[in-house]
């Protein structure tokens, strides 16, 4: 079983990035980073030979009502290590740099996160909906999501806000 990234290396990263934070008391502490420094941190994690996190294992977002949180689980094949990186995003305008700039294989996962959670990825090569219909207005995994009503209009499937039921 792979082990979690060492605390002293996390301390090093914290010294390097001023927005980096982690809970030293926790069992497997995730690194929280400001969204401006995310891309630089990821580049360091991927390219530094003593870290070499070459696989993006899991990329997802969680809706905490006040804010969105991006979660990245990275794995290093060389050292058999894990690390979790988290970024808090503004709920009104969730935008974050796309990881396709470092790991090209995150393309579909980011499209899915955009489609279902509504996070916009900057500098993504092809940010379109992937699972929901193209003309759908809404992001189902958000906590305040209300399903839209399907209707056929002029032979085309369209989506409409539900009328408030009394």
């Amino acid at each position: 079983m792979g082990t979690y990234f060492e605390i002293d290396k996390l301390e090093l990263l914290k010294a390097q990035f001023d927005t980096a934070e982690f809970d030293a008391e926790a069992n497997e502490p995730a690194i929280y980073i400001g969204k401006e420094q995310l891309l630089d941190l990821m580049k360091v994690l991927r390219e530094t030979p003593t870290y070499s996190f070459d696989r993006m294992s899991c990329l997802t977002a969680v809706d905490y009502k006040e804010y969105f949180e991006m979660v990245y689980c990275l794995y290093s094949r060389r050292f058999d290590k894990w690390v979790t990186v988290k970024v808090k995003l503004d709920h009104d305008n969730p935008e974050v740099e796309s990881m396709t700039q470092i790991w090209e294989g995150t393309n579909f996962e980011e499209r899915e996160t955009y489609d279902l959670m509504g996070i916009k990825f900057l500098h993504h090569p092809d940010l379109r909906r992937i699972l929901m219909p193209d003309n759908y207005d809404g992001h189902p995994l958000q906590k305040d999501f209300v399903p839209l009503e399907p209707r056929i209009e002029g032979g085309v499937l369209t989506w409409h806000k539900q009328k408030s039921s009394s």
Partner: protein, 365 residues
């Protein structure tokens, strides 16, 4: 010389060789493919959202419906993630029974792969052979849990029922039959000249491409990269068993077929060792009737038949998960489809769809 114009051909979602409702927009120049864009979503059921309104125990049957030809592996992934979150220790006997079922399911899934591949290449007979043998495994599942495909057998804390004598005896019978079965496959498919000509040196994925697209499972191993979560993480009881990881050489269609064929033998070896050393004891841990994992999150990954299947679960301390994210190998592997098809003939696209082995229940979630 005749001038040709670029042309977009929609293959699917109701094309027999796209294995479910996958739509691929193939861009053609004459008969050469210059681009392939997968379009998904026709089977999207919102399983991640549905899980948020169900208790942890009620979530398990939904995982059966993800990758419906290897349900046991999905059950295993979800249950292990919840166990990690709630700190549940699983009894040794249950771990072994889980491994037996997961590996049987891996063989059954590779049967579907071989069957549909040969069917796509024009040999309907091949499909009958593979599905005949898959039926034997489904009958075993019928004995152990009463369901053939959507098993819901692996539960949080162990398994639903103990493995009966009848199941163990019949599993042993099946394992004894595996070498003869593989020998028969070699005589019917592997040695077939047309089969080889269609598969060798087509749709090559290089090592670099496989890493670039974050591929996993037999697809990445066919490109020669030793990446198997069973060996790396040694989750459950996998650390106890001795098995090899078959690797391909150049990552063409042929390697992807051979790797899966060899994996069947390795899975059979694992099951044999598990049957020989099956410990006695309880098959279920003491799990509270109302399961409330502590606040926090957990990510756990297992090797299902298509690759790295991960469950990321956030608990808010209540009986229902706050958020479940499923990292599905099929959708990530599909990113390589364009590279695989580019420069091939249209007839080879069908082979590429078959060997990348996407399962739409998992792609669309």
């Amino acid at each position: 010389m005749a001038q040709t114009e670029k042309f977009v051909l929609n293959m699917g979602p109701q094309h027999p060789s796209t294995h479910g409702v996958l739509q691929v927009q193939v861009e053609l120049d004459g008969e050469n493919i210059v681009g392939a864009t997968p379009v998904m979503g026709y089977l999207h059921r919102g399983i991640e959202k549905l899980m948020e309104s169900r208790t942890y125990v009620q979530c398990v049957p939904y995982t059966d419906r993800l990758d419906y030809v290897s349900a046991m592996n999905n059950n295993l992934g979800f249950c292990m993630a919840v166990e990690k979150l709630a700190n549940i220790e699983v009894p040794r006997r249950a771990e072994y029974i889980r491994v037996i079922c997961a590996e049987l399911n891996r063989i059954a899934s590779h049967h579907v792969f071989i069957g549909s591949l040969t069917n796509d290449l024009g040999s309907a007979t091949g499909m009958i052979y593979a599905f005949r043998d898959r039926e034997k495994i489904l009958d075993l599942f019928n004995i152990i849990c009463g369901a053939r495909m959507t098993a819901h057998y692996i539960r949080i804390g162990g398994v639903a029922a103990d493995a009966q004598e009848e199941f163990l005896r019949d599993t042993q019978k099946f394992i004894d039959y595996v070498p003869a079965m593989l020998d028969e496959y070699d005589r019917i498919f592997t040695g077939n000249e047309i089969f080889q000509a269609r598969m060798q040196n087509t749709s090559i994925i290089t090592k670099e491409d496989a890493l670039k697209y974050s591929m996993s499972g037999p697809n990445i191993r066919a490109s020669g990269i030793d990446y198997d979560i069973r060996k790396i993480d040694k989750y459950g009881a996998y650390g106890d068993f001795d098995f090899e990881i078959p690797l391909g050489k150049q990552g063409d269609n042929w390697d992807r077929y051979i790797v899966r064929l060899k994996e069947i033998q390795q899975s059979a070896n694992i099951i044999q060792q598990a049957l020989d050393n099956l410990p006695e004891g309880p098959y279920m841990a003491k799990v509270p009737k109302v399961l409330k994992p502590p606040k926090g999150d957990a990510y756990h990954r297992v090797e299902n038949t298509r690759g790295e299947l991960g469950f990321y679960i956030v608990s808010d301390g209540s009986t229902k998960p706050y958020r479940v994210h499923i990292r599905r190998p099929s959708i990530v592997n599909l990113q390589a489809l364009d590279t695989m098809c580019r420069g091939m003939l249209l007839a080879d696209a069908v082979t590429a769809f078959a060997t990348i082995d996407p399962l739409m229940g998992e792609v669309d979630c």
